[in-house]
Symmetry: C2
Subunit: 203 residues, 2 copies
DNA sequence: GCAATTCTGTACCAGTCGGTACATTTATCA
DNA sequence: TGATAAATGTACCGACTGGTACAGAATTGC
């Protein structure tokens, strides 16, 4: 079972490095040579560990959502006793901190990749994955809002889908602005504004 | 002066086709072969007419802003007698119509390209151009808001930069959502909400 | 020690990339 | 009718693309 030569690299570490490279340069902007250089391994090792470029990207997307995306989304569900406005602000603040983190690529891998979907710069299977992830995001927002509406902190007349789409647009727009160099500070002010009057909104 | 063989194609038509191809597939996702095939011309003709890939992309960005972007932005300045709310909604409605137009690539070339900036999937000069375009967009929004504030239709305490960044995030987010397949209808509802949120905001 | 197993490094594959040299065709001007 | 100018089609360039064959190195169980 444990026979054979030992791996000289850690698969998870390599996956994280690959994720950051895709995050920075995108799918078609990242070559296998870029990857092997950054990961410090040779091509056969890479192909043995991750299959091919498309599989590696899928794994990177998954890794990104689990390790960079989800921790921010948890801010929305931390506790229903905290007012929705505070949770939304905390969520967006955490997102802004991520997408402007100087130690990480600017912006968001999901948003960036979504802009590549439905093109032949991206394999169809990846476009499909991205569509599912987008749907999951909207569903998560809707679930939070629905709970709030049931709890009475949001008017019963409010259109949940509308509000979720609105929040998603602010969320994704922030990622684009971060990529274009906007400061965390100005993004935070915009995010506060996006949330501030949300609760006053009458369906 | 008029000596020499006649061109067999129209430069502007070819530029528009190239723009749509970049719009669909992005800079690094569009090859010279793709371009010559779609434009129906050979490589020497393409290089003679547009320089090289980078120059062609710069020209495409310019063409895009002039022929697809600007007409929408004009909705903001159509007349100061029309209430800001109506102009903002008309602006966003026109943008949504563009980014979801079934006869055009989904989303926005500027937003898509911005997500590629600061990466080696894009020449540095193009990243610089995109940064300038982003700055122009923010400045245009700020100018509109400043006028409104001076005219008294927006509270004098309002932070113009904050409001402009907020609008930009909604605007860019809509382009991302369009690319991921959101319907014009749901985007329109989200945009309406964004506008009413903005108008309810008190500095 | 010795097979079996697994990873590593090198060297290579066909195909495509952006870009160009060059000869040819088509036009204008003298 | 040339001479000149400009656009065309073909054929090619070195570099890079994603991907792999193969030999050798390292580890295990027997």
């Amino acid at each position: 079972m444990n026979a054979g030569r030992k791996k000289t690299f850690d698969t998870q570490e390599a996956l994280d490095k690959a994720t950051k490279l895709f995050w920075l340069n995108g799918y078609s902007g990242t070559s296998i040579s870029d990857l092997t250089a950054t990961l410090g391994i040779n091509k056969p090792s890479l192909y043995n560990a991750f299959g091919n470029k498309e599989h590696l990207f899928q794994a990177s997307l998954d890794h990104y959502m689990k390790h960079y995306g989800s921790p921010r989304w948890e801010k929305l569900n931390v506790s229903e006793e905290i007012p929705l406005e505070h949770r939304l602000k905390a969520f967006l603040q955490a997102v802004i901190k991520l997408v402007t983190d100087p130690g990480l690529p600017q912006g968001c891998l999901f948003v960036k990749s979504t802009c590549d979907s439905n093109s032949h710069a991206l394999p169809e299977a990846i476009t499909q994955t991205l569509k599912e992830l987008a749907s999951n995001n909207l569903t998560a927002l809707e679930a939070v809002l629905r709970k709030e509406r049931a709890a009475g902190s949001i008017p019963p007349t409010v259109d949940i889908d509308q509000m979720a789409t609105y929040l998603a647009s602010v969320l994704y727009g922030i990622a684009v602005l971060a990529r274009s160099g906007s400061s965390a500070d100005s993004l935070q002010k915009a995010a506060d504004m996006a949330v501030s009057t949300l609760l006053q909104h009458k369906g």
